[in-house]
Protein backbone atom coordinates (compact mmCIF):
# COMPACT_ATOMS: atom_id res chain seq x y z
CA UNK A 1 0.00 0.00 0.00
CA UNK A 2 2.80 2.30 1.00
CA UNK A 3 4.71 1.48 -2.19
CA UNK A 4 1.63 2.27 -4.28
CA UNK A 5 1.28 5.64 -2.55
CA UNK A 6 4.93 6.47 -3.16
CA UNK A 7 4.60 5.40 -6.78
CA UNK A 8 1.61 7.70 -7.31
CA UNK A 9 3.33 10.54 -5.52
CA UNK A 10 6.35 10.22 -7.82
CA UNK A 11 4.05 9.80 -10.82
CA UNK A 12 2.25 13.03 -9.92
CA UNK A 13 5.49 14.93 -9.41
CA UNK A 14 6.98 13.70 -12.70
CA UNK A 15 3.80 14.24 -14.72
CA UNK A 16 3.40 17.71 -13.16
CA UNK A 17 6.99 18.53 -14.04
CA UNK A 18 6.49 17.14 -17.57
CA UNK A 19 3.32 19.18 -18.03
CA UNK A 20 5.06 22.32 -16.83
CA UNK A 21 8.03 21.67 -19.08
CA UNK A 22 5.73 20.99 -22.06
CA UNK A 23 3.93 24.28 -21.42
CA UNK A 24 7.25 26.09 -21.22
CA UNK A 25 8.49 24.59 -24.51
CA UNK A 26 5.20 25.53 -26.18
CA UNK A 27 5.42 29.12 -24.88
CA UNK A 28 9.01 29.46 -26.13
CA UNK A 29 8.02 28.10 -29.56
CA UNK A 30 5.08 30.53 -29.67
CA UNK A 31 7.34 33.42 -28.74
CA UNK A 32 9.73 32.56 -31.59
CA UNK A 33 6.89 32.25 -34.09
CA UNK A 34 5.59 35.59 -32.83
CA UNK A 35 8.89 37.43 -33.35
CA UNK A 36 9.45 35.86 -36.78
CA UNK A 37 6.00 37.06 -37.82
CA UNK A 38 6.72 40.54 -36.45
CA UNK A 39 10.10 40.76 -38.17
CA UNK A 40 8.70 39.44 -41.46
CA UNK A 41 5.87 41.99 -41.34
CA UNK A 42 8.25 44.79 -40.45
CA UNK A 43 10.12 44.13 -43.69
CA UNK A 44 7.06 43.95 -45.93
CA UNK A 45 4.64 46.77 -46.82
CA UNK A 46 2.46 48.52 -45.81
CA UNK A 47 4.89 50.48 -43.61
CA UNK A 48 3.38 52.57 -40.85
CA UNK A 49 5.96 55.31 -40.37
CA UNK A 50 3.64 57.51 -38.32
CA UNK A 51 3.16 54.75 -35.75
CA UNK A 52 6.89 54.02 -35.64
CA UNK A 53 7.62 57.70 -34.94
CA UNK A 54 4.92 57.69 -32.26
CA UNK A 55 6.56 54.68 -30.59
CA UNK A 56 10.02 56.20 -30.97
CA UNK A 57 8.72 59.12 -28.96
CA UNK A 58 7.14 56.89 -26.29
CA UNK A 59 9.97 54.36 -25.96
CA UNK A 60 12.88 56.60 -26.87
CA UNK A 61 12.26 60.27 -26.17
CA UNK A 62 10.26 59.68 -22.99
CA UNK A 63 13.04 57.47 -21.60
CA UNK A 64 15.68 60.14 -22.22
CA UNK A 65 15.59 61.79 -18.80
CA UNK A 66 15.77 58.58 -16.76
CA UNK A 67 18.53 57.16 -18.97
CA UNK A 68 20.55 60.40 -18.77
CA UNK A 69 20.11 60.59 -15.00
CA UNK A 70 21.17 56.99 -14.44
CA UNK A 71 24.03 57.42 -16.93
CA UNK A 72 25.36 60.51 -15.15
CA UNK A 73 25.35 58.90 -11.73
CA UNK A 74 26.79 55.62 -13.02
CA UNK A 75 29.73 57.57 -14.49
CA UNK A 76 30.10 59.44 -11.21
CA UNK A 77 30.13 56.22 -9.16
CA UNK A 78 32.63 54.67 -11.56
CA UNK A 79 34.89 57.68 -11.10
CA UNK A 80 34.83 57.38 -7.30
CA UNK A 81 35.31 53.60 -7.31
CA UNK A 82 37.86 53.68 -10.15
CA UNK A 83 39.95 56.43 -8.60
CA UNK A 84 40.00 54.63 -5.21
CA UNK A 85 40.90 51.23 -6.69
CA UNK A 86 43.47 52.52 -9.15
CA UNK A 87 45.11 54.69 -6.48
CA UNK A 88 46.06 51.42 -4.69
CA UNK A 89 48.32 50.74 -7.67
CA UNK A 90 49.32 54.31 -8.34
CA UNK A 91 47.42 54.25 -11.59
CA UNK A 92 44.77 56.96 -11.12
CA UNK A 93 45.64 58.26 -14.57
CA UNK A 94 43.73 55.33 -16.02
CA UNK A 95 40.46 56.37 -14.35
CA UNK A 96 39.18 58.04 -17.53
CA UNK A 97 39.81 54.98 -19.67
CA UNK A 98 38.32 52.65 -17.05
CA UNK A 99 35.13 54.72 -16.91
CA UNK A 100 34.80 54.99 -20.68
CA UNK A 101 35.50 51.32 -21.39
CA UNK A 102 33.14 50.12 -18.64
CA UNK A 103 30.37 52.34 -19.92
CA UNK A 104 30.78 51.82 -23.65
CA UNK A 105 31.40 48.09 -23.62
CA UNK A 106 29.21 46.93 -20.78
CA UNK A 107 27.27 49.20 -18.49
CA UNK A 108 25.87 51.51 -21.15
CA UNK A 109 24.02 48.88 -23.19
CA UNK A 110 22.96 46.78 -20.17
CA UNK A 111 21.76 49.56 -17.86
CA UNK A 112 20.06 51.45 -20.70
CA UNK A 113 18.17 48.31 -21.73
CA UNK A 114 17.17 47.65 -18.12
CA UNK A 115 15.97 51.26 -17.74
CA UNK A 116 13.97 51.13 -20.98
CA UNK A 117 12.59 47.77 -19.91
CA UNK A 118 11.41 49.15 -16.58
CA UNK A 119 10.00 52.36 -17.98
CA UNK A 120 8.67 51.56 -21.46
CA UNK A 121 8.63 47.74 -21.61
CA UNK A 122 6.28 47.30 -18.66
CA UNK A 123 4.01 50.05 -20.01
CA UNK A 124 3.98 48.34 -23.40
CA UNK A 125 2.91 45.01 -21.90
CA UNK A 126 0.21 46.61 -19.76
CA UNK A 127 -1.14 48.65 -22.67
CA UNK A 128 -1.25 45.71 -25.07
CA UNK A 129 -2.70 43.43 -22.40
CA UNK A 130 -5.50 45.88 -21.64
CA UNK A 131 -6.15 46.31 -25.36
CA UNK A 132 -6.48 42.55 -25.66
CA UNK A 133 -8.80 41.98 -22.72
CA UNK A 134 -11.01 44.98 -23.57
CA UNK A 135 -11.55 43.65 -27.13
CA UNK A 136 -9.64 46.52 -28.75
CA UNK A 137 -7.51 43.96 -30.59
CA UNK A 138 -10.70 42.25 -31.81
CA UNK A 139 -11.99 45.67 -32.89
CA UNK A 140 -8.85 46.15 -35.02
CA UNK A 141 -9.34 42.72 -36.59
CA UNK A 142 -12.99 43.42 -37.30
CA UNK A 143 -11.82 46.44 -39.35
CA UNK A 144 -9.36 44.26 -41.29
CA UNK A 145 -6.44 45.91 -39.52
CA UNK A 146 -3.71 43.38 -38.76
CA UNK A 147 -2.88 43.85 -35.04
CA UNK A 148 0.64 42.47 -35.54
CA UNK A 149 1.37 45.15 -38.13
CA UNK A 150 -0.50 47.89 -36.31
CA UNK A 151 0.56 47.25 -32.71
CA UNK A 152 3.65 45.05 -32.63
CA UNK A 153 5.77 46.05 -35.64
CA UNK A 154 6.04 49.75 -34.70
CA UNK A 155 6.97 48.87 -31.11
CA UNK A 156 9.62 46.34 -32.06
CA UNK A 157 11.19 48.65 -34.68
CA UNK A 158 11.10 51.56 -32.21
CA UNK A 159 12.73 49.36 -29.56
CA UNK A 160 15.53 48.34 -31.93
CA UNK A 161 16.17 51.98 -32.92
CA UNK A 162 15.67 53.62 -29.51
CA UNK A 163 17.91 51.51 -27.29
CA UNK A 164 21.16 52.09 -29.28
CA UNK A 165 20.48 55.85 -29.38
CA UNK A 166 19.70 55.91 -25.66
CA UNK A 167 22.82 53.84 -25.02
CA UNK A 168 24.92 56.45 -26.81
CA UNK A 169 23.31 59.14 -24.65
CA UNK A 170 23.93 57.04 -21.53
CA UNK A 171 27.60 56.63 -22.48
CA UNK A 172 28.14 60.34 -23.20
CA UNK A 173 26.36 61.53 -20.04
CA UNK A 174 28.10 58.80 -18.04
CA UNK A 175 31.54 59.89 -19.25
CA UNK A 176 30.62 63.51 -18.51
CA UNK A 177 29.51 62.50 -14.99
CA UNK A 178 32.74 60.57 -14.50
CA UNK A 179 34.78 63.52 -15.77
CA UNK A 180 33.01 65.98 -13.47
CA UNK A 181 33.51 63.85 -10.36
CA UNK A 182 36.99 62.67 -11.33
CA UNK A 183 38.42 66.02 -12.39
CA UNK A 184 36.40 68.58 -10.47
CA UNK A 185 35.84 66.67 -7.25
CA UNK A 186 38.66 64.12 -6.93
CA UNK A 187 41.31 66.35 -8.46
CA UNK A 188 42.39 64.14 -11.35
CA UNK A 189 44.17 65.82 -14.22
CA UNK A 190 41.80 66.81 -16.99
CA UNK A 191 44.40 66.26 -19.71
CA UNK A 192 45.39 62.80 -18.50
CA UNK A 193 41.74 61.83 -18.01
CA UNK A 194 40.86 62.77 -21.60
CA UNK A 195 44.03 61.49 -23.28
CA UNK A 196 43.91 58.11 -21.51
CA UNK A 197 40.25 57.76 -22.36
CA UNK A 198 40.64 58.60 -26.07
CA UNK A 199 43.65 56.35 -26.49
CA UNK A 200 42.00 53.40 -24.67
CA UNK A 201 38.65 53.48 -26.44
CA UNK A 202 38.67 52.17 -29.99
CA UNK A 203 36.02 51.90 -32.71
CA UNK A 204 35.62 48.23 -31.90
CA UNK A 205 34.52 49.03 -28.35
CA UNK A 206 31.87 51.38 -29.65
CA UNK A 207 30.72 48.90 -32.31
CA UNK A 208 30.45 46.01 -29.83
CA UNK A 209 28.41 48.19 -27.46
CA UNK A 210 26.22 49.24 -30.36
CA UNK A 211 25.61 45.64 -31.46
CA UNK A 212 24.68 44.66 -27.92
CA UNK A 213 22.23 47.53 -27.60
CA UNK A 214 20.47 46.51 -30.84
CA UNK A 215 19.92 43.00 -29.47
CA UNK A 216 18.81 44.36 -26.09
CA UNK A 217 16.32 46.69 -27.79
CA UNK A 218 14.91 43.73 -29.68
CA UNK A 219 14.68 41.67 -26.48
CA UNK A 220 12.85 44.38 -24.54
CA UNK A 221 10.32 45.02 -27.33
CA UNK A 222 9.88 41.34 -28.17
CA UNK A 223 9.28 40.12 -24.62
CA UNK A 224 7.07 43.11 -23.72
CA UNK A 225 4.93 42.77 -26.84
CA UNK A 226 4.67 38.99 -26.58
CA UNK A 227 3.65 39.09 -22.92
CA UNK A 228 1.00 41.70 -23.70
CA UNK A 229 -0.19 39.68 -26.69
CA UNK A 230 -0.61 36.51 -24.61
CA UNK A 231 -1.94 38.28 -21.53
CA UNK A 232 -4.57 36.46 -19.42
CA UNK A 233 -7.94 37.83 -18.43
CA UNK A 234 -8.71 40.63 -15.98
CA UNK A 235 -6.51 42.81 -13.85
CA UNK A 236 -4.70 39.73 -12.53
CA UNK A 237 -3.81 38.69 -16.10
CA UNK A 238 -2.36 42.13 -16.88
CA UNK A 239 -0.52 42.20 -13.56
CA UNK A 240 1.05 38.77 -14.19
CA UNK A 241 1.94 39.60 -17.79
CA UNK A 242 3.62 42.88 -16.80
CA UNK A 243 5.63 41.35 -13.97
CA UNK A 244 6.63 38.42 -16.15
CA UNK A 245 7.65 40.74 -19.01
CA UNK A 246 9.95 42.82 -16.79
CA UNK A 247 11.53 39.79 -15.09
CA UNK A 248 11.94 37.79 -18.32
CA UNK A 249 13.42 40.75 -20.25
CA UNK A 250 15.83 41.64 -17.43
CA UNK A 251 17.08 38.08 -17.10
CA UNK A 252 17.27 37.68 -20.89
CA UNK A 253 19.32 40.89 -21.18
CA UNK A 254 21.85 39.73 -18.60
CA UNK A 255 22.11 36.20 -20.01
CA UNK A 256 22.39 37.47 -23.58
CA UNK A 257 24.98 40.00 -22.44
CA UNK A 258 27.26 37.18 -21.33
CA UNK A 259 26.95 35.33 -24.64
CA UNK A 260 27.27 38.46 -26.75
CA UNK A 261 30.31 39.59 -24.76
CA UNK A 262 31.92 36.17 -25.27
CA UNK A 263 31.20 36.16 -29.00
CA UNK A 264 32.13 39.81 -29.63
CA UNK A 265 35.35 39.49 -27.62
CA UNK A 266 36.40 36.56 -29.81
CA UNK A 267 35.38 38.34 -33.01
CA UNK A 268 36.77 41.82 -32.33
CA UNK A 269 39.55 41.61 -29.74
Amino acid sequence: MCKVKIFFMFYRIISGFGEQFGRYVLAVAEAWIFIFEVLYKSLTPPYRFKLIIQQLYIIGAQSFSVVALVGGFTGAVLAVQGEYTLSQFGATGYTGSAIALSLIRELGPVLTALMVNGRAGSAMTAELGIMKISEQVDALRSMAVDPIRYLMVPRVIAGIISVPILTAIFDVVGIAGGYLVGVESLGLSSGIFMSQMTSAVSDVDVISGFIKSIFFGLIVAWVSCYKGWTCGFGAVGVNKATTSAVVTSSVAILVLDYFLTSILTKVFF
Binding site: M131, S134, Q136, D138, A139, R141, S142, M143, A144
Partner: protein, 229 residues
Protein backbone atom coordinates in the same frame (compact mmCIF):
# COMPACT_ATOMS: atom_id res chain seq x y z
CA UNK B 1 -29.70 30.09 -39.79
CA UNK B 2 -30.28 32.80 -42.39
CA UNK B 3 -30.83 36.52 -42.03
CA UNK B 4 -33.05 38.53 -44.36
CA UNK B 5 -31.57 41.76 -45.75
CA UNK B 6 -32.63 44.93 -43.95
CA UNK B 7 -34.09 43.15 -40.95
CA UNK B 8 -33.22 43.47 -37.27
CA UNK B 9 -32.76 40.09 -35.64
CA UNK B 10 -32.28 39.38 -31.96
CA UNK B 11 -30.07 36.51 -30.87
CA UNK B 12 -31.02 35.73 -27.29
CA UNK B 13 -30.10 33.10 -24.76
CA UNK B 14 -28.70 32.63 -21.28
CA UNK B 15 -25.16 33.72 -20.47
CA UNK B 16 -22.42 31.42 -21.75
CA UNK B 17 -24.60 29.86 -24.40
CA UNK B 18 -22.54 30.95 -27.40
CA UNK B 19 -24.11 34.24 -28.53
CA UNK B 20 -20.88 36.24 -28.55
CA UNK B 21 -19.03 33.23 -29.98
CA UNK B 22 -21.53 33.22 -32.86
CA UNK B 23 -20.74 36.89 -33.51
CA UNK B 24 -17.00 36.20 -33.44
CA UNK B 25 -17.40 33.26 -35.80
CA UNK B 26 -19.34 35.30 -38.33
CA UNK B 27 -16.97 38.25 -38.16
CA UNK B 28 -13.92 36.00 -38.41
CA UNK B 29 -12.56 36.74 -34.96
CA UNK B 30 -12.81 33.00 -34.25
CA UNK B 31 -12.47 30.12 -36.69
CA UNK B 32 -15.21 27.49 -36.96
CA UNK B 33 -14.49 23.84 -36.09
CA UNK B 34 -17.18 22.60 -38.46
CA UNK B 35 -19.83 24.02 -40.77
CA UNK B 36 -19.82 26.94 -43.14
CA UNK B 37 -20.58 30.66 -42.98
CA UNK B 38 -21.32 32.54 -46.17
CA UNK B 39 -21.98 36.24 -46.51
CA UNK B 40 -23.82 37.24 -49.67
CA UNK B 41 -22.69 34.01 -51.30
CA UNK B 42 -19.02 34.46 -50.34
CA UNK B 43 -17.84 31.62 -48.11
CA UNK B 44 -15.84 33.26 -45.35
CA UNK B 45 -14.99 30.16 -43.32
CA UNK B 46 -11.51 28.96 -44.18
CA UNK B 47 -10.96 32.14 -46.15
CA UNK B 48 -9.54 34.41 -43.48
CA UNK B 49 -6.59 35.77 -45.43
CA UNK B 50 -6.19 39.46 -46.24
CA UNK B 51 -8.85 39.32 -48.97
CA UNK B 52 -11.31 37.48 -46.71
CA UNK B 53 -10.72 39.96 -43.87
CA UNK B 54 -11.20 42.91 -46.22
CA UNK B 55 -14.44 41.41 -47.48
CA UNK B 56 -15.83 40.85 -44.00
CA UNK B 57 -14.73 44.31 -42.80
CA UNK B 58 -16.43 46.00 -45.76
CA UNK B 59 -19.65 44.11 -45.18
CA UNK B 60 -19.78 44.23 -41.39
CA UNK B 61 -19.54 46.56 -38.46
CA UNK B 62 -19.42 45.49 -34.82
CA UNK B 63 -20.40 47.20 -31.59
CA UNK B 64 -18.47 45.28 -28.95
CA UNK B 65 -19.84 44.61 -25.48
CA UNK B 66 -17.76 47.32 -23.77
CA UNK B 67 -17.53 49.38 -26.98
CA UNK B 68 -13.79 48.52 -27.35
CA UNK B 69 -12.80 52.10 -28.14
CA UNK B 70 -9.09 52.78 -28.51
CA UNK B 71 -8.06 54.38 -25.22
CA UNK B 72 -5.27 56.50 -26.63
CA UNK B 73 -7.44 58.11 -29.31
CA UNK B 74 -10.02 60.87 -29.03
CA UNK B 75 -13.63 60.11 -29.89
CA UNK B 76 -13.16 61.78 -33.27
CA UNK B 77 -10.06 59.68 -33.97
CA UNK B 78 -11.91 56.53 -32.93
CA UNK B 79 -14.76 57.20 -35.32
CA UNK B 80 -12.53 58.25 -38.22
CA UNK B 81 -10.16 55.28 -37.69
CA UNK B 82 -11.89 52.77 -40.02
CA UNK B 83 -12.01 55.33 -42.83
CA UNK B 84 -8.37 56.27 -42.37
CA UNK B 85 -7.35 52.63 -42.55
CA UNK B 86 -9.15 52.18 -45.84
CA UNK B 87 -7.58 55.23 -47.43
CA UNK B 88 -10.47 55.56 -49.86
CA UNK B 89 -11.51 59.10 -48.93
CA UNK B 90 -9.69 62.42 -48.82
CA UNK B 91 -8.78 63.69 -45.30
CA UNK B 92 -11.38 66.47 -45.59
CA UNK B 93 -14.13 63.98 -46.41
CA UNK B 94 -13.03 61.70 -43.58
CA UNK B 95 -13.23 64.62 -41.16
CA UNK B 96 -16.66 65.71 -42.36
CA UNK B 97 -18.09 62.23 -42.29
CA UNK B 98 -16.63 61.42 -38.87
CA UNK B 99 -18.12 64.58 -37.36
CA UNK B 100 -21.47 63.83 -39.00
CA UNK B 101 -21.55 60.31 -37.53
CA UNK B 102 -20.51 61.50 -34.10
CA UNK B 103 -23.27 64.08 -34.20
CA UNK B 104 -25.71 61.42 -35.44
CA UNK B 105 -25.24 59.54 -32.19
CA UNK B 106 -25.73 62.71 -30.15
CA UNK B 107 -22.13 63.50 -29.29
CA UNK B 108 -21.65 66.97 -30.76
CA UNK B 109 -19.03 68.82 -28.74
CA UNK B 110 -17.35 65.65 -27.44
CA UNK B 111 -15.02 65.15 -30.42
CA UNK B 112 -11.80 65.79 -28.52
CA UNK B 113 -12.64 63.81 -25.39
CA UNK B 114 -10.87 60.55 -24.64
CA UNK B 115 -12.93 57.37 -24.05
CA UNK B 116 -11.86 57.39 -20.40
CA UNK B 117 -13.48 60.81 -19.92
CA UNK B 118 -17.02 59.81 -20.92
CA UNK B 119 -19.69 57.45 -19.57
CA UNK B 120 -20.13 53.86 -20.76
CA UNK B 121 -23.40 54.86 -22.46
CA UNK B 122 -21.56 57.51 -24.47
CA UNK B 123 -18.80 55.05 -25.27
CA UNK B 124 -21.39 52.70 -26.73
CA UNK B 125 -22.74 55.52 -28.88
CA UNK B 126 -19.23 56.19 -30.18
CA UNK B 127 -18.85 52.44 -30.80
CA UNK B 128 -22.02 52.50 -32.88
CA UNK B 129 -20.79 55.51 -34.87
CA UNK B 130 -17.45 53.77 -35.49
CA UNK B 131 -19.17 50.56 -36.60
CA UNK B 132 -21.54 52.46 -38.87
CA UNK B 133 -19.18 54.95 -40.47
CA UNK B 134 -18.07 52.62 -43.27
CA UNK B 135 -21.76 52.06 -44.04
CA UNK B 136 -21.62 48.29 -43.69
CA UNK B 137 -24.46 46.14 -44.91
CA UNK B 138 -24.51 44.16 -41.65
CA UNK B 139 -24.19 45.56 -38.18
CA UNK B 140 -23.67 43.45 -35.05
CA UNK B 141 -24.52 44.69 -31.60
CA UNK B 142 -23.01 42.57 -28.83
CA UNK B 143 -25.15 43.15 -25.75
CA UNK B 144 -25.60 46.87 -26.45
CA UNK B 145 -27.21 47.47 -23.05
CA UNK B 146 -24.77 45.63 -20.81
CA UNK B 147 -23.67 47.76 -17.88
CA UNK B 148 -26.10 50.59 -18.61
CA UNK B 149 -28.82 52.17 -16.50
CA UNK B 150 -32.31 51.30 -17.80
CA UNK B 151 -32.94 54.79 -19.21
CA UNK B 152 -29.53 54.90 -20.91
CA UNK B 153 -30.12 51.39 -22.28
CA UNK B 154 -33.48 52.51 -23.63
CA UNK B 155 -31.70 55.41 -25.32
CA UNK B 156 -29.34 52.96 -27.04
CA UNK B 157 -32.28 50.87 -28.30
CA UNK B 158 -33.96 54.01 -29.64
CA UNK B 159 -30.71 55.01 -31.33
CA UNK B 160 -30.44 51.59 -33.00
CA UNK B 161 -34.02 51.91 -34.29
CA UNK B 162 -33.38 55.47 -35.55
CA UNK B 163 -30.15 54.54 -37.31
CA UNK B 164 -31.70 51.40 -38.79
CA UNK B 165 -34.49 53.49 -40.31
CA UNK B 166 -31.98 55.94 -41.70
CA UNK B 167 -29.28 53.60 -43.01
CA UNK B 168 -31.29 50.41 -43.61
CA UNK B 169 -28.57 48.03 -42.44
CA UNK B 170 -29.23 44.41 -41.49
CA UNK B 171 -28.79 44.28 -37.74
CA UNK B 172 -28.06 41.36 -35.44
CA UNK B 173 -28.53 42.27 -31.82
CA UNK B 174 -27.13 39.89 -29.23
CA UNK B 175 -28.92 40.21 -25.95
CA UNK B 176 -30.42 38.39 -23.02
CA UNK B 177 -32.85 41.18 -22.21
CA UNK B 178 -36.41 40.20 -22.82
CA UNK B 179 -38.92 41.74 -23.38
CA UNK B 180 -36.86 44.97 -23.90
CA UNK B 181 -35.23 43.59 -27.05
CA UNK B 182 -38.62 43.09 -28.74
CA UNK B 183 -38.97 46.83 -29.37
CA UNK B 184 -35.89 46.66 -31.59
CA UNK B 185 -36.18 43.33 -33.43
CA UNK B 186 -39.00 41.61 -35.26
CA UNK B 187 -37.33 38.20 -35.33
CA UNK B 188 -35.86 36.26 -32.43
CA UNK B 189 -33.35 33.45 -32.47
CA UNK B 190 -32.74 31.73 -29.17
CA UNK B 191 -29.53 29.81 -28.58
CA UNK B 192 -28.86 27.32 -25.84
CA UNK B 193 -25.73 25.18 -25.58
CA UNK B 194 -24.70 26.23 -29.07
CA UNK B 195 -27.97 25.05 -30.67
CA UNK B 196 -30.82 27.13 -32.12
CA UNK B 197 -33.83 26.45 -29.91
CA UNK B 198 -36.28 28.73 -31.66
CA UNK B 199 -36.12 30.95 -34.75
CA UNK B 200 -39.18 33.02 -35.55
CA UNK B 201 -41.27 36.08 -34.93
CA UNK B 202 -41.73 37.52 -31.44
CA UNK B 203 -45.10 35.79 -31.07
CA UNK B 204 -43.65 32.45 -32.22
CA UNK B 205 -40.87 32.86 -29.68
CA UNK B 206 -43.29 33.75 -26.88
CA UNK B 207 -45.63 30.87 -27.77
CA UNK B 208 -42.88 28.27 -28.06
CA UNK B 209 -43.51 25.42 -25.61
CA UNK B 210 -39.97 24.04 -25.42
CA UNK B 211 -39.02 23.82 -21.73
CA UNK B 212 -35.73 25.65 -22.33
CA UNK B 213 -37.48 28.54 -24.05
CA UNK B 214 -40.25 28.68 -21.45
CA UNK B 215 -37.75 28.80 -18.61
CA UNK B 216 -35.76 31.55 -20.35
CA UNK B 217 -38.89 33.64 -21.01
CA UNK B 218 -40.19 33.20 -17.47
CA UNK B 219 -36.78 33.83 -15.97
CA UNK B 220 -37.08 31.06 -13.41
CA UNK B 221 -34.27 29.12 -11.81
CA UNK B 222 -36.01 25.72 -12.11
CA UNK B 223 -35.78 23.97 -15.44
CA UNK B 224 -33.41 22.46 -17.97
CA UNK B 225 -31.17 25.56 -18.19
CA UNK B 226 -28.17 24.88 -15.99
CA UNK B 227 -27.29 27.84 -13.81
CA UNK B 228 -23.58 27.79 -13.16
CA UNK B 229 -23.15 29.59 -9.87
Amino acid sequence: MQVVDGSLVAVVGPSGTGKSVLLKLITGLLEVDAGEISIDGYIVTGNRGAAGREFVAKKMGVLFQAAALFDSMTLFENVSFPLEQRQELAPKEIKERSLEYLWNVGLKGYENKLPGEISIGMRKRVGIARALITEPKYLFFDEPNTGLDPEVGQGIYELIIKLHKRFGFTGIVISHEIPEIFQVCSRVIMLYEGQVQVDGSISEFLDCDKPVVRQFIQGTADGPIQLNF
